[in-house]
């Protein structure tokens, strides 16, 4: 099996998949901790459906580079959802649900009415579940993912303290003079970028798993924000790699295999955390 794996690693598209998979897993886990703590776990699902809707419009318009439309639309929706705040008429989860199902239905209807492919069901299924999308990346797409991931990691590293403050106590952060609205905007933009990238790895419907499971698994074992963040990053990368290797060795869909590995690893962390009482700070 190891020999077969090394044989597969000689294929360029497998190496591209590993690179992009690792980067996406890393970026999604970093922001996942913030989203889980701010009770916005389901935003990944909502934004991925918006990205699907934008992708449908881009497909109908026959755009060569669909990112030109998908990224700005997703960023705009992320800003709308995350910046509405306490005084919005339609609050958090309702807004996410409304935009999410609306975009999904609209996108699928557009692709049916203005079909540009002979295998519509296959294209939609592949986008929603990410069965082999990660293994069919071009070099340009890989470099784009790399560039965006580097930006996300650097942003998180430089703004770590502010993100920490805004995550745990936004009112206190505002009271001491932190521009919480600006940092919420940054978080929203970064989340949108990660969601668009993650669609390639696990598909639209399973993105939430990449965001939620690493953070929740880390919280079973650690108490401090720093340790939870670092562990969730390592956890996410390991699970993504393991899921990718299993899928290419045994011929399973990539997206659902990665999420299955995430689920098993979460239960493992839960049991370890329950047995050991958590690793105290």
């Amino acid at each position: 099996m190891i020999v077969k794996l090394f044989m597969y690693l000689e294929y360029p598209f497998v190496r591209y998949a590993i690179i992009v998979g690792v980067l996406i897993a890393l970026c999604s886990s970093l922001l996942g901790v913030t989203l889980v703590l701010k009770r916005f776990s389901y935003i990944g699902d909502g934004l991925s459906h918006v990205a699907f809707g934008a992708m449908a419009i881009a497909t109908v318009l026959k755009l060569t580079n669909q990112m030109v439309l998908i990224l700005p639309v997703t960023i705009l929706c992320a800003v709308v959802l995350l910046r509405t705040g306490q005084n919005a008429k339609i609050k958090g989860d309702a807004a996410i649900a409304m935009i999410s199902v609306g975009a999904l239905a609209f996108g699928y209807m557009l692709m049916n009415v203005f079909s540009t492919s002979s295998n519509l069901t296959g294209d939609v299924c592949s986008t929603l579940f990410g069965s082999t999308s990660i293994l069919t990346l071009t070099k340009w797409e890989v470099w784009l993912c790399i560039a965006l991931s580097v930006v996300v990691v650097i942003t998180f590293a430089l703004l770590y303290n502010k993100i920490f403050a805004v995550t745990f106590d936004e009112d206190f952060a505002k009271a001491v003079g932190t521009n919480a609205d600006a940092y919420n905007l940054v978080i929203a933009v970064v989340i949108a970028v990660i969601i668009v990238l993650a669609m390639n790895l696990v598909g639209s419907l399973l993105i939430s798993a990449l965001v939620i499971f690493p953070a929740l698994s880390a919280m079973r074992l650690f108490n401090s924000f720093r340790k939870v963040t670092l562990f969730s990053a390592a956890f996410s990368v390991v699970c993504a790699l393991l899921g990718l290797f299993i899928s290419i060795l045994w011929g399973t869909p990539v997206g659902s295999t990665i999420v299955t590995v995430d689920v098993f690893a979460f239960f493992l962390c839960w049991m370890v955390g329950a047995c050991l009482g958590g690793i105290k700070r």
Binding site: Y8, E10, Y11, P12, F13, V14, R15, Y16, I18, I19, V22, L23, L26, N119, T121, G122, D123, C125, S126, F129, S131, T132, L135, T136, T138, K139, V142, I146, S149, V150, V153, I154, F156, A157, L158, Y160, R226, T229, L230, A233, S247, I248, L249, W250, G251, T252, P253, V254
Partner: protein, 210 residues
């Protein structure tokens, strides 16, 4: 925290450097073939040797084995191919069973991805002997009046299909020697591309059923 991030970034960049490193181009590029045979013709490797096709009509034009021109070209190919990859490995060097791209040895996820890759970058596979297994499909196009035969494979969720057309050798007579629609077949042939109108298609030439 910043140190941890920088360490993560450094490791990631190392991974990227390894991953994006160019692998030797194992294909006989069409530039090399064009230089030898001229831009209107293309040489395609077969298990028995080489066939030269007219790019526009797709007809074989090297039937005359005694032609001096092709004898010289054959000799020239042997000399040229000795170092087409720059490391002494002949461009048309094959594994012991004569197959350059064996899709039957890959998992279903890898097969689908590799076939997708072949469709997107056919120039990297032109001239290579390909072996694949899938379900047989026959399609008659009333606009061209031709029958097209393909080997179809599905991805892991079985919702998406990819396929490669194949053209069996003259030893096979239609319909008695051809499979039934939906049969699982193993086919081996030489990967090539051709044009019908403005569209380019991929096919396995001189194919045989195993």
């Amino acid at each position: 925290m910043k140190r941890a991030m920088i360490l993560m970034l450094t490791m990631t960049m190392s991974l990227l450097t390894w991953g994006c490193a160019e692998t030797p181009d194992n294909s006989a590029s069409s530039d090399n073939l064009d230089a030898l045979y001229g831009s209107s013709q293309i040489a395609v490797v077969t298990p028995e040797g080489y066939n030269v096709y007219d790019k526009e009509t797709g007809e074989i034009i090297n039937d005359d084995a005694e032609s001096e021109e092709y004898a010289e070209a054959d000799e020239s190919i042997s000399e040229q191919s000795a170092d087409l990859m720059g490391d002494g490995t002949p461009a048309f060097a094959r594994s012991t069973d004569g197959v350059d791209v064996d899709l039957t040895a890959l998992s279903s996820t890898m097969v689908y991805s590799q076939v997708y890759n072949m469709m997107v970058t056919p120039e990297n596979f032109t001239g290579k002997v390909v072996k694949m297994q899938g379900s047989y499909s026959c399609f008659y196009d009333s606009t061209t009046g031709n029958y097209y035969y393909a080997c179809i494979i599905q991805d892991a969720t079985a919702c998406c299909s990819q396929g490669i057309e194949f053209i069996l050798t003259d030893d096979y007579k239609y319909p008695q020697d051809y499979p039934t629609d939906g049969d699982i077949i193993t086919v081996q042939g030489v990967f090539d591309t051709y044009y019908e109108g403005e569209n380019m298609y991929c096919t396995l030439r001189n194919a045989k059923l195993l």
